[in-house]
Symmetry: C2
Subunit: 157 residues, 2 copies
């Protein structure tokens, strides 16, 4: 419980700080991209530790399953609720109660703030995948809080 709280509070502080530090015309975009970059580096670091003792992954799907189960549980204390793929390099990870959105009120008026609360995690996933040799673009969308979907588009090299 302690650790979760620490992560959540730190995450909020970061959003608040980055949001206030990035002023200028395209501030919102820059804020989101800074947060995404932070997440990327943290994801890279974390996956190295997490996979230290795991056997080699069979394929891309195997990697995605690891992200949805082990990685997600370590960071967010629950698994991804649903993983779908078109078998052509697109994966959709659905979390029905995404931890970093649970502090936000569920009202529709807050939906516009959701990207700031998802950017770090998009980067986290992209960074983790990147260090497992999978290049990707990760986006997120929310329709009803606190449920949210992360879309991973694999970039074939």
């Amino acid at each position: 419980m302690a650790d979760e709280a620490l992560f959540q509070f730190l995450h909020s502080e970061i959003i608040q700080y980055v949001n206030s530090a990035e002023t200028g015309e395209s501030e919102n975009g820059r804020c989101v991209s800074k947060l995404e970059n932070m997440g990327f580096r943290v994801g890279q670091g974390l996956i190295e530790r997490f996979t230290k003792d795991t056997p080699r992954f069979k394929d891309e799907l195997d990697v995605m399953k690891f992200i949805c189960k082990d990685f997600w549980t370590s960071v967010f204390k629950k698994q991804i609720d649903n993983l779908r793929t078109n078998h052509q390099g697109i994966y959709v990870l659905q979390d029905n109660k995404f931890r970093l959105l649970t502090q936000l009120s569920a009202g529709k008026q807050y939906l516009e703030h959701a990207p700031k609360f998802l950017a770090f995690t998009c980067g986290l996933v992209r960074g983790a995948l990147s260090n497992l040799g999978v290049k990707s673009i990760v986006t997120a969308e929310v329709s009803v809080m606190p449920a949210c979907k992360f879309q991973v588009m694999i970039q074939k090299i």
Copy 2:
């Protein structure tokens, strides 16, 4: 293990980001004070959760012991190694292997960077104490890494 790593990586990202965002004449001072403020708010939040089910504290020393044992263990996975006081409102908390300094090389040339790595924690302690009704000033000093001492000066109201 996962949680520790997450906290450490996030903490490093914050230092790096705040350090790069606060440019100007007195940049180093502002960086440290921003980090301290973040720590303060996180400390306030955490202590509320941690003390939800604990009995009321007897006195100031009782509060300090809680910080050194329970609070420190929750956040840094170990207790403070030594607590001293002059019984006149000054407490010195010594951590012989402070987690947030263990990533830094122990060379003397890095000592000047230590304040950035301690500011968040100073705020954390000040915030926690503040929400327990103890107003304080918290400073930190390092003589040999990764050992470090936090000095808490209670502000009598």
